[in-house]
């Protein structure tokens, strides 16, 4: 087994540190296969997540449209600025900025 000295070790310890990178070719092959499978699994998860998000957005749009029609039929006012703002707030983490605290202001 090939070993590699990573740091200088005092001679008194008489030990060397083995690196996980210095593996045998067989172990490296196994690791390669495992990581490849893991990567494919993560891509599937991401794809499913995007599909789920897309489906949710479509459902949300349909619900919004139905709500609008119902409000019109019942003669109700559209949502106030506060409700509309809350409804249209970007999803957490979607914009890159930190989560925002919502402060109500009456004018």
């Amino acid at each position: 087994m090939k070993t590699r000295r990573l740091w200088s070790i005092p001679a008194a310890t008489g030990r060397a540190v083995k690196s996980s990178l210095s593996a045998t070719p067989l172990r490296a092959q196994t690791e390669l296969g495992r990581l490849t499978q893991e990567r494919e699994r993560l891509i599937r998860v991401r794809s499913n997540f995007i599909d789920y998000q897309t489906r949710t957005e479509a459902k949300l749009a349909a619900v919004d449209e139905r709500l609008t029609r119902l409000r019109e039929r019942l003669g109700l006012q559209p949502p106030t600025g506060r409700q509309a703002a809350r409804q249209s707030l970007p999803a957490a983490g979607a914009s890159g900025s930190k989560s925002m605290r919502e402060v109500d202001l009456e004018y």
């Binding site: 506060r82 914009s95 402060v103 004018y107």
Partner: protein, 333 residues
Amino acid sequence: MAAAARMVIEGPGDVLSLRPRSTFVETPTVRELTDRALIYLQAGFPVHFRGPSGSGKTTLALHLAAQLGRPVMLVAGDEEVGTSDLVGGRTGYHYRKVLDNFIHSVKKYEEDATQRWVDHRLTVACRDGYTLVYDEFTRSRAEANNALLAVLEEHLLILPMAIGPETYIRVHPEFRAIFTSNPQEYAGVHEAQDALCDRLVTLDCDYYDQETETAIAAARSGLSEDQVAPLVQMVRDFRESGAYDQVPTLRSCIMIARTAAMHGFEFSAETPGFVSICLDVLGSKTPLDTRNRKRREEQQKLLLNLIQHHCGGEKRIGRAIRQSRPDPTGNAS
């Protein structure tokens, strides 16, 4: 030892969600002005409400922002406002130290200094498509508003070089900007640069019509419109007279109406408390000075006449005034 400097982005933390208060009044005049402004905002142009103090610019701007249904970032113009107050800046560091002694005889020491970058309101509004309300923007120095020029024209926020994590931010398509300013104010204001004014659609706001002022004064005082109508007319007449240094506005009507209503004073020239409130609120529109004492006395006489004319009680007004306060002229009656 390893040392590194990175940027961490943090936001201003707060976003406003606007809603009209229960006493908000939307008369045809208010609606017409709102609709006019909405046309420009929907077309992607920033709107600028320009008008004297007390003409309802800020409330109108907030009402307009609420119509857009997006979260709102409110910025107040100020002498101290600079570019970094609008776009963001560096505020301190995050330090991290790692001492790895997993193997007892080996020490690994790592230190990481991370610079903290805080996005301010303009940057967040541009990035996330919020509505920016810049109240009294001429109170900020003209050069502080330079970042807005590219935002409004090229739809690009240009961050100062080497202080931000990114140099350019593409403005979100739903970003809108509403400005207010008071051209008559001379204390603590600056001239806006032509380049910025040229990018704004400016709508002049004058004092509201009598119907709107009456409706607002009634809503804010909790009284009926019939009750406050004479008071509103009196203040409007006083405004027309020009016998003051500071223009009496709708705020004066609300102050008088609410205070008098709270203490149960009848809106009558015969009620000393009511007369006293009127003289306090409206009489102070001309500063008391030994050099203009005569002018102040004339203004007070005018006010008493207006109170008498609009709120009645001719017979006993003299007694009510004497009861409300000593003779302003100092003469024995």
